[in-house]
Symmetry: C2
Subunit: 146 residues, 2 copies
């Protein structure tokens, strides 16, 4: 994991600094989107300053190693771009119940056919609904009520 982070930084010609490596390691470890705060939390007490985290993420965005998504609140969520197609990110699913977001990486989707004159750079699909976990929890509650 550490090696992969070093490699990624090298590939875009950025200096190998501990804050950057820690941020990349965290993004490599997870299978979902993370906010600045969640990244800091996961790194722990020695996490870089929030300014540094934002600045690093912006650099990685510029280099196209990271993608940013705005979901159901005013905070931006980040993820490594390695599971995204060139023109299209995988769909994101947010559970209205537990508020957790899942990356639906194994799914095929097609690009929308745009009216004449428009050209795509990136398509994102965002789905709100109920996740399997909350689905079964609700059913259990219903049974309990009876």
């Amino acid at each position: 994991m550490n090696h992969r982070a070093t490699e990624l930084l090298g590939s875009v010609h950025l200096r190998q600094t501990e804050p950057r490596l820690a941020i990349l390691r965290t993004l490599l470890k997870t299978d979902t989107l993370l906010t600045q705060e969640q990244i800091a939390e996961q790194i722990g007490p020695d996490a870089p300053n929030k300014t540094t985290i934002y600045r690093t993420l912006t650099q990685l965005l510029d280099k196209n190693l990271v993608h940013q998504a705005y979901l159901d609140d005013r905070t931006s969520h980040f993820e490594l771009a390695h599971h995204c197609g060139e023109r299209q990110c995988h769909p994101h699913f947010t559970c209205v119940h537990c508020k957790q977001t899942h990356c639906l990486t194994g799914i095929s989707t097609q690009l929308v056919e745009l009216p004449k004159g428009f050209s795509v750079q990136r398509q994102q699909i965002h789905i709100d609904g109920v996740c399997p976990n909350c689905q079964t929890m609700n059913k259990t509650k219903e049974i309990e009520r009876v």
Copy 2:
């Protein structure tokens, strides 16, 4: 337009107040998403206080007359729900050049097939790219450079 706004308010049993009517009129008049600030601007000097605008929009969201979208920044954008299907909003297109967002209402799209256990409530598609206007402007510039 005024009549339609009165009608909409009545249909969800909210009091007919001038701020609410002005907000609905503005939403009826436009063919794109608006932020709180843009709504206030369009109403003009007698626009309701921003608190009132946000509160009204929240009420209309609850009644499902209005939809909210988070696009490429931290500000929420609002629109009347009347051009949306039950499970799916029309796609939104944001031009990376002029930053304007267009509602692609005349387009058919299909719901993503979700993995077992997930259930959809609402699907949104967001596309970044270049709009017809900026496309031709860029071409013109290229010609000028030659």
